[in-house]
Protein backbone atom coordinates (compact mmCIF):
# COMPACT_ATOMS: atom_id res chain seq x y z
CA UNK A 1 0.00 0.00 0.00
CA UNK A 2 1.21 3.45 -0.85
CA UNK A 3 2.29 5.58 2.02
CA UNK A 4 3.52 9.12 2.30
CA UNK A 5 6.01 10.75 4.56
CA UNK A 6 3.96 13.03 6.67
CA UNK A 7 5.75 14.95 9.33
CA UNK A 8 8.55 16.14 7.14
CA UNK A 9 6.41 17.19 4.18
CA UNK A 10 3.58 19.07 5.79
CA UNK A 11 3.41 22.48 4.24
CA UNK A 12 1.87 24.07 7.31
CA UNK A 13 3.42 26.07 10.09
CA UNK A 14 4.43 23.78 12.91
CA UNK A 15 5.68 25.69 15.83
CA UNK A 16 6.84 22.68 17.80
CA UNK A 17 9.75 24.71 18.93
CA UNK A 18 7.46 26.75 21.14
CA UNK A 19 7.99 25.89 24.77
CA UNK A 20 4.44 24.54 25.31
CA UNK A 21 3.93 20.82 24.78
CA UNK A 22 1.85 19.96 21.67
CA UNK A 23 -1.56 18.36 22.18
CA UNK A 24 -2.08 14.62 22.03
CA UNK A 25 -2.90 13.59 18.45
CA UNK A 26 -6.34 12.32 17.43
CA UNK A 27 -6.66 8.54 17.03
CA UNK A 28 -8.20 6.16 14.54
CA UNK A 29 -8.22 8.48 11.53
CA UNK A 30 -10.41 6.82 8.92
CA UNK A 31 -11.14 8.16 5.45
CA UNK A 32 -13.93 6.63 3.38
CA UNK A 33 -15.88 7.44 0.29
CA UNK A 34 -19.05 9.33 1.21
CA UNK A 35 -21.88 6.86 0.70
CA UNK A 36 -24.98 7.57 -1.40
CA UNK A 37 -23.63 10.55 -3.27
CA UNK A 38 -22.78 11.52 -6.82
CA UNK A 39 -19.04 11.28 -6.17
CA UNK A 40 -16.48 14.00 -5.48
CA UNK A 41 -16.46 13.69 -1.72
CA UNK A 42 -14.70 11.76 1.05
CA UNK A 43 -15.56 11.60 4.74
CA UNK A 44 -12.68 11.78 7.21
CA UNK A 45 -13.40 10.73 10.78
CA UNK A 46 -11.28 10.39 13.91
CA UNK A 47 -11.44 9.88 17.63
CA UNK A 48 -10.87 13.03 19.59
CA UNK A 49 -7.50 13.88 21.10
CA UNK A 50 -7.04 13.02 24.77
CA UNK A 51 -6.68 16.79 25.31
CA UNK A 52 -10.12 17.48 23.80
CA UNK A 53 -12.80 17.12 26.47
CA UNK A 54 -10.23 15.81 28.95
CA UNK A 55 -6.53 15.89 29.75
CA UNK A 56 -5.25 19.46 29.43
CA UNK A 57 -8.38 20.60 27.55
CA UNK A 58 -6.01 22.46 25.29
CA UNK A 59 -7.32 21.54 21.81
CA UNK A 60 -9.05 24.40 19.98
CA UNK A 61 -9.54 22.74 16.60
CA UNK A 62 -8.48 19.95 14.28
CA UNK A 63 -6.66 20.64 11.04
CA UNK A 64 -7.12 18.34 8.08
CA UNK A 65 -4.47 17.83 5.39
CA UNK A 66 -4.67 15.94 2.13
CA UNK A 67 -2.16 14.42 -0.24
CA UNK A 68 -1.91 11.92 -3.04
CA UNK A 69 0.45 8.97 -2.25
CA UNK A 70 4.03 10.22 -2.34
CA UNK A 71 2.91 13.83 -2.62
CA UNK A 72 2.96 16.81 -0.31
CA UNK A 73 0.23 17.31 2.28
CA UNK A 74 -1.78 20.50 1.99
CA UNK A 75 -4.28 21.97 4.38
CA UNK A 76 -7.87 21.54 3.17
CA UNK A 77 -9.81 22.73 6.19
CA UNK A 78 -10.42 22.52 9.91
CA UNK A 79 -13.01 21.27 12.36
CA UNK A 80 -13.92 22.70 15.74
CA UNK A 81 -12.95 20.88 18.93
CA UNK A 82 -15.38 18.15 19.87
CA UNK A 83 -16.07 17.39 16.21
CA UNK A 84 -15.02 14.00 14.87
CA UNK A 85 -15.79 14.22 11.17
CA UNK A 86 -14.88 16.31 8.16
CA UNK A 87 -16.24 16.12 4.62
CA UNK A 88 -13.81 16.83 1.80
CA UNK A 89 -16.13 17.75 -1.05
CA UNK A 90 -13.47 18.61 -3.58
CA UNK A 91 -12.06 15.26 -4.57
CA UNK A 92 -11.63 13.86 -8.06
CA UNK A 93 -13.25 10.45 -8.47
CA UNK A 94 -10.73 7.66 -9.10
CA UNK A 95 -7.79 9.54 -7.55
CA UNK A 96 -6.10 8.04 -4.46
CA UNK A 97 -5.90 10.29 -1.41
CA UNK A 98 -4.31 10.17 2.03
CA UNK A 99 -5.54 12.30 4.92
CA UNK A 100 -3.80 13.59 8.02
CA UNK A 101 -5.61 15.02 11.02
CA UNK A 102 -3.72 17.05 13.65
CA UNK A 103 -5.05 18.60 16.83
CA UNK A 104 -4.22 22.29 17.32
CA UNK A 105 -4.11 24.15 20.62
CA UNK A 106 -3.71 27.67 19.29
CA UNK A 107 0.08 27.47 19.39
CA UNK A 108 1.27 24.11 18.16
CA UNK A 109 0.05 21.13 16.18
CA UNK A 110 -0.05 17.59 17.48
CA UNK A 111 1.90 14.84 15.74
CA UNK A 112 0.03 13.69 12.63
CA UNK A 113 -2.42 10.82 12.48
CA UNK A 114 -2.72 9.39 8.99
CA UNK A 115 -5.53 7.54 7.22
CA UNK A 116 -5.35 4.68 4.75
CA UNK A 117 -5.51 5.42 1.03
CA UNK A 118 -9.05 6.21 -0.13
CA UNK A 119 -10.78 6.85 -3.45
CA UNK A 120 -14.07 8.67 -4.00
CA UNK A 121 -16.76 7.40 -6.36
CA UNK A 122 -20.39 7.93 -7.28
CA UNK A 123 -23.10 5.46 -6.28
CA UNK A 124 -25.90 4.39 -8.57
CA UNK A 125 -28.30 3.57 -5.76
CA UNK A 126 -29.02 5.67 -2.67
CA UNK A 127 -29.53 3.00 -0.03
CA UNK A 128 -31.09 5.53 2.34
CA UNK A 129 -33.95 6.03 -0.07
CA UNK A 130 -35.17 2.47 -0.16
CA UNK A 131 -38.39 3.73 1.42
CA UNK A 132 -39.01 5.91 -1.65
CA UNK A 133 -38.28 3.00 -3.94
CA UNK A 134 -40.80 0.84 -2.08
CA UNK A 135 -43.40 3.66 -2.25
CA UNK A 136 -42.70 4.21 -5.94
CA UNK A 137 -42.94 0.51 -6.81
CA UNK A 138 -46.23 0.06 -4.93
CA UNK A 139 -47.74 3.17 -6.51
CA UNK A 140 -46.50 2.23 -9.98
CA UNK A 141 -48.00 -1.24 -9.61
CA UNK A 142 -51.46 0.14 -8.90
CA UNK A 143 -51.20 2.78 -11.64
CA UNK A 144 -50.15 0.22 -14.25
CA UNK A 145 -52.76 -2.27 -13.06
CA UNK A 146 -55.61 0.21 -13.44
CA UNK A 147 -54.31 1.57 -16.75
CA UNK A 148 -54.46 -2.01 -18.01
CA UNK A 149 -58.02 -2.34 -16.75
CA UNK A 150 -59.05 0.98 -18.31
CA UNK A 151 -57.51 -0.01 -21.65
CA UNK A 152 -59.54 -3.20 -21.59
CA UNK A 153 -62.62 -1.02 -21.56
CA UNK A 154 -63.57 -1.25 -17.89
CA UNK A 155 -65.61 1.74 -16.75
CA UNK A 156 -63.69 3.79 -14.17
CA UNK A 157 -65.71 6.30 -12.16
CA UNK A 158 -64.44 9.82 -11.41
CA UNK A 159 -66.45 12.02 -9.10
CA UNK A 160 -67.60 15.39 -10.45
CA UNK A 161 -65.22 18.31 -9.87
CA UNK A 162 -67.12 21.61 -9.74
CA UNK A 163 -64.43 23.76 -11.37
CA UNK A 164 -64.19 21.44 -14.34
CA UNK A 165 -67.92 21.17 -14.82
CA UNK A 166 -67.80 24.93 -15.31
CA UNK A 167 -65.16 24.91 -18.09
CA UNK A 168 -67.65 24.52 -20.95
CA UNK A 169 -69.99 27.06 -19.38
CA UNK A 170 -67.15 29.58 -19.06
CA UNK A 171 -66.06 29.13 -22.68
CA UNK A 172 -69.68 29.48 -23.81
CA UNK A 173 -70.04 32.68 -21.83
CA UNK A 174 -67.04 34.24 -23.60
CA UNK A 175 -68.57 33.24 -26.94
CA UNK A 176 -71.90 34.83 -26.10
CA UNK A 177 -70.23 38.03 -24.98
CA UNK A 178 -67.98 38.15 -28.06
CA UNK A 179 -64.90 38.54 -25.88
CA UNK A 180 -61.74 36.42 -25.68
CA UNK A 181 -60.71 33.73 -23.21
CA UNK A 182 -57.45 34.18 -21.34
CA UNK A 183 -55.47 31.16 -20.15
CA UNK A 184 -52.60 31.72 -17.72
CA UNK A 185 -50.39 28.61 -17.25
CA UNK A 186 -48.51 29.80 -14.16
CA UNK A 187 -44.99 31.14 -13.94
CA UNK A 188 -42.93 27.97 -13.80
CA UNK A 189 -41.23 26.10 -16.63
CA UNK A 190 -42.18 22.88 -18.39
CA UNK A 191 -40.22 20.77 -15.92
CA UNK A 192 -42.83 21.61 -13.28
CA UNK A 193 -45.50 18.95 -12.92
CA UNK A 194 -48.24 21.58 -12.47
CA UNK A 195 -47.34 23.27 -15.76
CA UNK A 196 -47.49 19.88 -17.47
CA UNK A 197 -50.99 19.30 -16.03
CA UNK A 198 -51.92 22.82 -17.13
CA UNK A 199 -51.04 22.03 -20.75
CA UNK A 200 -53.51 19.13 -20.76
CA UNK A 201 -56.31 21.40 -19.52
CA UNK A 202 -55.25 24.06 -22.04
CA UNK A 203 -55.77 21.47 -24.79
CA UNK A 204 -59.35 20.97 -23.70
CA UNK A 205 -60.06 24.70 -23.36
CA UNK A 206 -58.47 25.39 -26.76
CA UNK A 207 -60.58 22.73 -28.40
CA UNK A 208 -63.76 24.26 -27.00
CA UNK A 209 -62.57 27.73 -28.01
CA UNK A 210 -61.91 26.47 -31.53
CA UNK A 211 -65.35 24.88 -31.76
CA UNK A 212 -67.02 28.12 -30.61
CA UNK A 213 -64.63 30.29 -32.66
CA UNK A 214 -63.70 32.28 -29.58
CA UNK A 215 -60.25 33.93 -29.45
CA UNK A 216 -57.88 32.38 -26.92
CA UNK A 217 -55.05 34.40 -25.37
CA UNK A 218 -52.21 32.60 -23.59
CA UNK A 219 -49.58 34.92 -22.08
CA UNK A 220 -46.63 32.89 -20.75
CA UNK A 221 -43.63 33.72 -18.61
CA UNK A 222 -41.32 31.00 -19.97
CA UNK A 223 -40.25 30.57 -23.56
CA UNK A 224 -40.50 26.78 -23.44
CA UNK A 225 -43.99 27.01 -21.99
CA UNK A 226 -44.91 29.30 -24.88
CA UNK A 227 -43.65 26.69 -27.37
CA UNK A 228 -45.48 23.88 -25.58
CA UNK A 229 -48.67 25.97 -25.38
CA UNK A 230 -48.45 26.77 -29.09
CA UNK A 231 -48.11 23.08 -29.92
CA UNK A 232 -51.01 22.17 -27.62
CA UNK A 233 -53.36 24.83 -28.96
CA UNK A 234 -52.42 24.12 -32.56
CA UNK A 235 -53.21 20.44 -32.09
CA UNK A 236 -56.53 21.27 -30.39
CA UNK A 237 -57.53 23.51 -33.31
CA UNK A 238 -56.61 20.74 -35.73
CA UNK A 239 -58.70 18.23 -33.74
CA UNK A 240 -61.62 20.64 -33.78
CA UNK A 241 -61.31 20.95 -37.57
CA UNK A 242 -60.40 24.64 -37.39
CA UNK A 243 -56.67 24.83 -38.19
CA UNK A 244 -57.29 28.10 -40.08
CA UNK A 245 -58.48 29.79 -36.86
CA UNK A 246 -55.21 29.07 -35.04
CA UNK A 247 -53.14 32.20 -34.44
CA UNK A 248 -49.73 31.58 -32.88
CA UNK A 249 -49.36 35.30 -32.00
CA UNK A 250 -52.11 34.93 -29.42
CA UNK A 251 -49.84 32.63 -27.41
CA UNK A 252 -47.16 35.05 -26.43
CA UNK A 253 -44.12 35.25 -24.18
CA UNK A 254 -43.87 38.28 -21.89
CA UNK A 255 -40.94 37.97 -19.51
CA UNK A 256 -39.40 35.55 -17.04
CA UNK A 257 -39.64 38.13 -14.28
CA UNK A 258 -42.43 37.28 -11.84
CA UNK A 259 -43.81 40.77 -11.29
CA UNK A 260 -42.96 41.98 -14.79
CA UNK A 261 -45.17 39.14 -16.00
CA UNK A 262 -47.90 40.08 -13.53
CA UNK A 263 -47.82 43.70 -14.72
CA UNK A 264 -47.97 42.62 -18.38
CA UNK A 265 -50.88 40.22 -17.82
CA UNK A 266 -52.77 42.84 -15.80
CA UNK A 267 -52.43 45.27 -18.71
CA UNK A 268 -53.65 42.60 -21.14
CA UNK A 269 -56.67 41.87 -18.95
CA UNK A 270 -57.69 45.51 -18.90
CA UNK A 271 -57.19 46.09 -22.60
CA UNK A 272 -58.43 42.79 -24.06
CA UNK A 273 -61.24 42.44 -21.50
CA UNK A 274 -61.49 38.63 -21.54
CA UNK A 275 -64.86 37.23 -20.48
CA UNK A 276 -63.26 34.13 -19.00
CA UNK A 277 -59.89 33.70 -17.33
CA UNK A 278 -58.24 30.43 -16.43
CA UNK A 279 -55.35 30.26 -13.97
CA UNK A 280 -53.94 26.73 -14.13
CA UNK A 281 -50.45 25.84 -13.00
CA UNK A 282 -47.86 26.90 -10.50
CA UNK A 283 -48.26 30.38 -9.01
CA UNK A 284 -46.49 32.37 -6.34
CA UNK A 285 -46.99 35.89 -5.00
CA UNK A 286 -48.44 37.16 -8.29
CA UNK A 287 -51.58 35.02 -7.82
CA UNK A 288 -53.60 37.63 -5.92
CA UNK A 289 -52.50 40.49 -8.20
CA UNK A 290 -53.71 38.57 -11.24
CA UNK A 291 -56.90 37.19 -9.72
CA UNK A 292 -57.92 40.57 -8.26
CA UNK A 293 -57.40 42.34 -11.58
CA UNK A 294 -59.33 39.62 -13.39
CA UNK A 295 -62.13 39.93 -10.84
CA UNK A 296 -62.27 43.71 -11.32
CA UNK A 297 -62.83 43.23 -15.07
CA UNK A 298 -65.92 41.14 -14.36
CA UNK A 299 -64.53 37.97 -15.96
CA UNK A 300 -65.62 34.54 -14.81
CA UNK A 301 -62.49 33.00 -13.29
CA UNK A 302 -61.48 29.37 -12.85
CA UNK A 303 -58.23 28.63 -11.05
CA UNK A 304 -56.27 25.51 -10.25
CA UNK A 305 -52.96 25.12 -8.46
CA UNK A 306 -51.18 22.82 -6.06
CA UNK A 307 -49.46 25.70 -4.27
CA UNK A 308 -50.97 25.68 -0.76
CA UNK A 309 -49.87 29.24 -0.04
CA UNK A 310 -51.63 30.66 -3.12
CA UNK A 311 -54.84 28.66 -3.02
CA UNK A 312 -56.53 30.95 -0.46
CA UNK A 313 -56.21 33.88 -2.85
CA UNK A 314 -57.74 31.98 -5.73
CA UNK A 315 -60.54 30.68 -3.50
CA UNK A 316 -61.25 34.29 -2.51
CA UNK A 317 -61.06 35.95 -5.93
CA UNK A 318 -62.17 33.25 -8.38
CA UNK A 319 -65.53 31.66 -9.13
CA UNK A 320 -64.16 28.11 -9.10
CA UNK A 321 -60.90 26.73 -7.76
CA UNK A 322 -59.30 23.36 -8.30
CA UNK A 323 -57.58 22.55 -5.04
CA UNK A 324 -54.24 20.75 -5.11
CA UNK A 325 -54.58 17.32 -6.63
CA UNK A 326 -57.83 18.29 -8.39
CA UNK A 327 -55.56 20.07 -10.88
CA UNK A 328 -53.91 16.76 -11.75
CA UNK A 329 -57.20 14.88 -11.72
CA UNK A 330 -58.55 17.44 -14.19
CA UNK A 331 -56.50 15.98 -17.02
CA UNK A 332 -58.12 12.58 -16.55
CA UNK A 333 -61.56 14.03 -15.94
CA UNK A 334 -61.53 16.14 -19.08
CA UNK A 335 -59.86 13.75 -21.48
CA UNK A 336 -61.34 10.44 -20.20
CA UNK A 337 -58.27 8.75 -21.65
CA UNK A 338 -57.67 5.25 -20.24
CA UNK A 339 -54.05 6.10 -19.45
CA UNK A 340 -54.99 9.06 -17.26
CA UNK A 341 -58.10 7.43 -15.76
CA UNK A 342 -56.05 4.39 -14.76
CA UNK A 343 -53.38 6.63 -13.21
CA UNK A 344 -55.98 8.44 -11.16
CA UNK A 345 -57.54 5.23 -9.91
CA UNK A 346 -54.09 3.85 -9.09
CA UNK A 347 -53.23 6.99 -7.14
CA UNK A 348 -56.44 6.62 -5.14
CA UNK A 349 -55.34 3.14 -4.16
CA UNK A 350 -52.00 4.59 -3.20
CA UNK A 351 -53.82 7.03 -0.92
CA UNK A 352 -55.83 4.21 0.63
CA UNK A 353 -52.62 2.33 1.42
CA UNK A 354 -51.12 5.53 2.78
CA UNK A 355 -54.08 5.93 5.16
CA UNK A 356 -53.83 2.29 6.24
CA UNK A 357 -50.10 2.62 6.87
CA UNK A 358 -50.64 5.86 8.73
CA UNK A 359 -53.24 4.39 11.06
CA UNK A 360 -51.16 1.23 11.55
CA UNK A 361 -48.04 3.30 12.13
CA UNK A 362 -49.71 5.49 14.73
CA UNK A 363 -50.87 2.40 16.63
CA UNK A 364 -47.39 0.85 16.46
CA UNK A 365 -45.62 4.05 17.48
CA UNK A 366 -48.06 4.52 20.37
CA UNK A 367 -47.15 1.02 21.52
CA UNK A 368 -43.47 1.91 21.41
CA UNK A 369 -42.43 0.38 18.07
CA UNK A 370 -40.53 3.32 16.63
CA UNK A 371 -38.57 1.44 13.95
CA UNK A 372 -41.08 2.53 11.31
CA UNK A 373 -40.35 6.20 12.06
CA UNK A 374 -36.61 5.53 11.78
CA UNK A 375 -37.15 3.79 8.44
CA UNK A 376 -39.21 6.70 7.12
CA UNK A 377 -36.61 9.19 8.33
CA UNK A 378 -33.81 7.70 6.23
CA UNK A 379 -32.79 9.44 3.07
Amino acid sequence: MATAVVSSTLSVPNRDSVASEPPVPPREVVARDKPNDSGGSILVSWERSADDGGGRESVTEYRIFRSTPGGTFESIGSARKGVEEFADVQTIDGTEYLYVVRAFDGVSLSPPSTSEVVVSSAQWFHTGRTNILVGGVVLSFFVLWFIRKAKRGEELYIRPIAGLEAVDEAVGRATEMGRPIMYIPGIMDMDNIQTIASMVILGRVARKAAEYETPLLVPTSRSIVMSAAQETVKEAYLDAGRPDAYDSDKIMYLTDDQFGYAAGVDGLMLREKPATIFYMGCFYAESLILAETGHSTGAIQIAGTAMPSQLPFFVTACDYTLIGEELFAASAYLSKEPLLLGSLKGQDWGKAIFIALLVGGIVLVSLGFTRIIEWLATG
Binding site: E325, F354, L376
Partner: protein, 200 residues
Protein backbone atom coordinates in the same frame (compact mmCIF):
# COMPACT_ATOMS: atom_id res chain seq x y z
CA UNK B 1 -26.46 63.44 -7.71
CA UNK B 2 -26.87 60.04 -9.40
CA UNK B 3 -28.45 58.68 -6.22
CA UNK B 4 -31.01 61.51 -6.21
CA UNK B 5 -31.86 60.88 -9.86
CA UNK B 6 -32.25 57.18 -9.07
CA UNK B 7 -34.60 57.89 -6.17
CA UNK B 8 -36.71 60.21 -8.34
CA UNK B 9 -36.97 57.62 -11.12
CA UNK B 10 -37.87 54.85 -8.62
CA UNK B 11 -40.46 57.08 -6.91
CA UNK B 12 -42.14 58.14 -10.17
CA UNK B 13 -42.22 54.55 -11.41
CA UNK B 14 -43.69 53.43 -8.06
CA UNK B 15 -46.44 56.06 -8.39
CA UNK B 16 -46.95 55.04 -12.01
CA UNK B 17 -47.57 51.43 -10.99
CA UNK B 18 -49.80 52.51 -8.07
CA UNK B 19 -51.89 54.60 -10.50
CA UNK B 20 -53.30 51.28 -11.72
CA UNK B 21 -55.35 51.23 -8.52
CA UNK B 22 -57.42 54.09 -10.00
CA UNK B 23 -57.67 52.74 -13.55
CA UNK B 24 -55.58 51.85 -16.59
CA UNK B 25 -53.82 54.99 -17.82
CA UNK B 26 -50.90 56.04 -20.06
CA UNK B 27 -48.49 56.36 -17.12
CA UNK B 28 -49.22 52.80 -15.99
CA UNK B 29 -48.89 51.58 -19.58
CA UNK B 30 -45.48 53.23 -19.81
CA UNK B 31 -44.30 51.72 -16.51
CA UNK B 32 -45.70 48.31 -17.43
CA UNK B 33 -43.98 48.23 -20.83
CA UNK B 34 -40.75 49.50 -19.29
CA UNK B 35 -40.90 46.84 -16.58
CA UNK B 36 -41.65 44.00 -19.00
CA UNK B 37 -39.00 45.16 -21.49
CA UNK B 38 -36.25 45.73 -18.94
CA UNK B 39 -36.92 42.46 -17.13
CA UNK B 40 -36.90 40.56 -20.43
CA UNK B 41 -33.57 42.10 -21.40
CA UNK B 42 -32.20 41.39 -17.95
CA UNK B 43 -33.14 37.72 -18.14
CA UNK B 44 -31.58 37.31 -21.59
CA UNK B 45 -28.27 38.57 -20.16
CA UNK B 46 -28.80 36.54 -16.97
CA UNK B 47 -29.32 33.24 -18.80
CA UNK B 48 -26.41 33.94 -21.11
CA UNK B 49 -23.97 34.60 -18.25
CA UNK B 50 -25.37 32.00 -15.83
CA UNK B 51 -26.43 29.33 -18.28
CA UNK B 52 -24.79 29.38 -21.69
CA UNK B 53 -21.30 30.43 -20.58
CA UNK B 54 -20.70 28.39 -17.38
CA UNK B 55 -22.90 25.40 -18.23
CA UNK B 56 -22.15 24.96 -21.91
CA UNK B 57 -19.27 27.06 -23.22
CA UNK B 58 -16.77 26.37 -20.40
CA UNK B 59 -17.32 22.59 -20.14
CA UNK B 60 -17.40 22.14 -23.91
CA UNK B 61 -14.74 24.53 -25.17
CA UNK B 62 -12.36 24.89 -22.24
CA UNK B 63 -12.68 21.50 -20.52
CA UNK B 64 -13.31 19.57 -23.75
CA UNK B 65 -16.15 17.64 -22.19
CA UNK B 66 -17.85 16.56 -25.39
CA UNK B 67 -20.86 15.06 -23.65
CA UNK B 68 -22.16 18.62 -23.61
CA UNK B 69 -22.68 18.42 -27.36
CA UNK B 70 -25.86 16.42 -26.66
CA UNK B 71 -27.68 19.13 -24.62
CA UNK B 72 -26.27 21.78 -26.95
CA UNK B 73 -27.73 19.93 -29.94
CA UNK B 74 -31.08 19.55 -28.15
CA UNK B 75 -31.04 23.27 -27.34
CA UNK B 76 -30.30 24.24 -30.93
CA UNK B 77 -33.26 22.19 -32.09
CA UNK B 78 -35.46 24.88 -30.56
CA UNK B 79 -34.41 27.20 -33.35
CA UNK B 80 -36.06 24.86 -35.82
CA UNK B 81 -39.30 26.63 -34.92
CA UNK B 82 -38.23 29.41 -37.23
CA UNK B 83 -38.33 27.06 -40.24
CA UNK B 84 -41.85 25.77 -40.79
CA UNK B 85 -40.66 22.60 -42.55
CA UNK B 86 -38.48 21.53 -39.63
CA UNK B 87 -40.51 23.01 -36.79
CA UNK B 88 -41.48 19.53 -35.58
CA UNK B 89 -37.87 19.03 -34.42
CA UNK B 90 -38.45 21.51 -31.60
CA UNK B 91 -40.69 18.90 -29.99
CA UNK B 92 -37.66 16.77 -29.16
CA UNK B 93 -36.12 19.08 -26.56
CA UNK B 94 -39.61 19.80 -25.24
CA UNK B 95 -40.23 16.07 -24.82
CA UNK B 96 -36.89 15.77 -23.04
CA UNK B 97 -37.72 18.60 -20.62
CA UNK B 98 -41.19 17.19 -19.96
CA UNK B 99 -39.89 13.68 -19.37
CA UNK B 100 -36.99 14.74 -17.19
CA UNK B 101 -39.22 17.13 -15.22
CA UNK B 102 -41.82 14.46 -14.52
CA UNK B 103 -39.27 11.77 -13.74
CA UNK B 104 -37.26 13.89 -11.36
CA UNK B 105 -40.28 15.25 -9.52
CA UNK B 106 -41.81 11.83 -8.72
CA UNK B 107 -39.20 10.64 -6.15
CA UNK B 108 -38.91 14.16 -4.76
CA UNK B 109 -42.68 14.35 -4.22
CA UNK B 110 -42.84 10.87 -2.70
CA UNK B 111 -40.15 11.88 -0.24
CA UNK B 112 -41.28 15.41 0.58
CA UNK B 113 -45.04 15.04 0.51
CA UNK B 114 -45.74 11.42 1.36
CA UNK B 115 -42.89 9.96 3.42
CA UNK B 116 -42.30 13.12 5.45
CA UNK B 117 -46.04 13.56 5.98
CA UNK B 118 -46.31 10.02 7.31
CA UNK B 119 -43.31 10.55 9.53
CA UNK B 120 -44.73 13.78 10.93
CA UNK B 121 -48.19 12.32 11.54
CA UNK B 122 -47.06 9.18 13.40
CA UNK B 123 -47.06 10.71 16.83
CA UNK B 124 -46.18 8.71 19.93
CA UNK B 125 -47.92 10.95 22.46
CA UNK B 126 -51.68 11.23 22.30
CA UNK B 127 -52.80 14.76 23.06
CA UNK B 128 -55.78 16.84 21.95
CA UNK B 129 -53.76 18.64 19.29
CA UNK B 130 -52.23 15.42 17.97
CA UNK B 131 -55.70 13.89 17.62
CA UNK B 132 -56.88 17.03 15.77
CA UNK B 133 -53.86 16.71 13.46
CA UNK B 134 -54.31 13.02 12.70
CA UNK B 135 -58.06 13.40 12.09
CA UNK B 136 -57.30 16.40 9.86
CA UNK B 137 -54.77 14.48 7.76
CA UNK B 138 -57.10 11.52 7.28
CA UNK B 139 -60.18 13.66 6.56
CA UNK B 140 -58.32 15.89 4.11
CA UNK B 141 -56.94 12.85 2.30
CA UNK B 142 -60.42 11.43 1.94
CA UNK B 143 -61.52 14.63 0.15
CA UNK B 144 -59.00 13.85 -2.56
CA UNK B 145 -60.47 10.45 -3.42
CA UNK B 146 -61.63 10.87 -6.98
CA UNK B 147 -62.56 7.41 -8.06
CA UNK B 148 -65.34 6.89 -5.52
CA UNK B 149 -68.57 8.74 -5.14
CA UNK B 150 -68.59 10.84 -1.98
CA UNK B 151 -71.50 9.31 -0.11
CA UNK B 152 -71.97 7.64 3.25
CA UNK B 153 -68.89 7.67 5.45
CA UNK B 154 -66.71 9.12 2.69
CA UNK B 155 -69.09 12.07 2.38
CA UNK B 156 -68.79 12.83 6.10
CA UNK B 157 -65.01 12.42 6.06
CA UNK B 158 -64.48 14.52 2.93
CA UNK B 159 -66.87 17.18 4.30
CA UNK B 160 -64.73 17.34 7.41
CA UNK B 161 -61.66 17.44 5.18
CA UNK B 162 -62.83 20.50 3.27
CA UNK B 163 -63.48 22.27 6.59
CA UNK B 164 -59.88 21.54 7.59
CA UNK B 165 -58.67 22.80 4.22
CA UNK B 166 -60.61 26.04 4.54
CA UNK B 167 -59.33 26.63 8.07
CA UNK B 168 -55.81 26.16 6.72
CA UNK B 169 -56.51 28.56 3.87
CA UNK B 170 -57.85 31.16 6.28
CA UNK B 171 -54.67 31.01 8.36
CA UNK B 172 -52.48 31.19 5.26
CA UNK B 173 -54.49 34.07 3.86
CA UNK B 174 -54.10 36.13 7.03
CA UNK B 175 -50.41 35.34 7.29
CA UNK B 176 -49.69 36.26 3.67
CA UNK B 177 -51.79 39.41 3.75
CA UNK B 178 -49.73 40.60 6.69
CA UNK B 179 -46.55 39.95 4.66
CA UNK B 180 -47.99 41.97 1.75
CA UNK B 181 -48.93 44.81 4.06
CA UNK B 182 -45.34 44.93 5.24
CA UNK B 183 -44.24 45.23 1.59
CA UNK B 184 -46.65 48.14 1.14
CA UNK B 185 -45.27 49.77 4.27
CA UNK B 186 -41.77 49.37 2.86
CA UNK B 187 -42.79 51.13 -0.35
CA UNK B 188 -44.61 53.89 1.54
CA UNK B 189 -41.51 54.39 3.67
CA UNK B 190 -39.42 54.73 0.54
CA UNK B 191 -41.73 57.42 -0.84
CA UNK B 192 -42.12 59.35 2.43
CA UNK B 193 -38.58 58.97 3.73
CA UNK B 194 -36.11 58.51 0.86
CA UNK B 195 -38.00 60.58 -1.71
CA UNK B 196 -39.95 63.26 0.14
CA UNK B 197 -38.02 63.21 3.41
CA UNK B 198 -41.24 63.77 5.39
CA UNK B 199 -40.44 61.08 7.97
CA UNK B 200 -37.17 60.13 9.64
Amino acid sequence: MSETVGIWIAALLTLGIFSFLYKDNPLYKFCEHLFVGISLGYYIAYYYHNGVIPKLYFPLVRQHNYFYIIPAFLGFLYFSRFVRKYAYLSRWPMAFVLGAGSGLSVPAIIQARIIRQMQGTMIDTITFSSIVMVVGVLATLSYFFFSREHKGFLKIASGMGIVYIMVGFGATFGYTVMARVSLLIGRAQFLLKDWLGIID
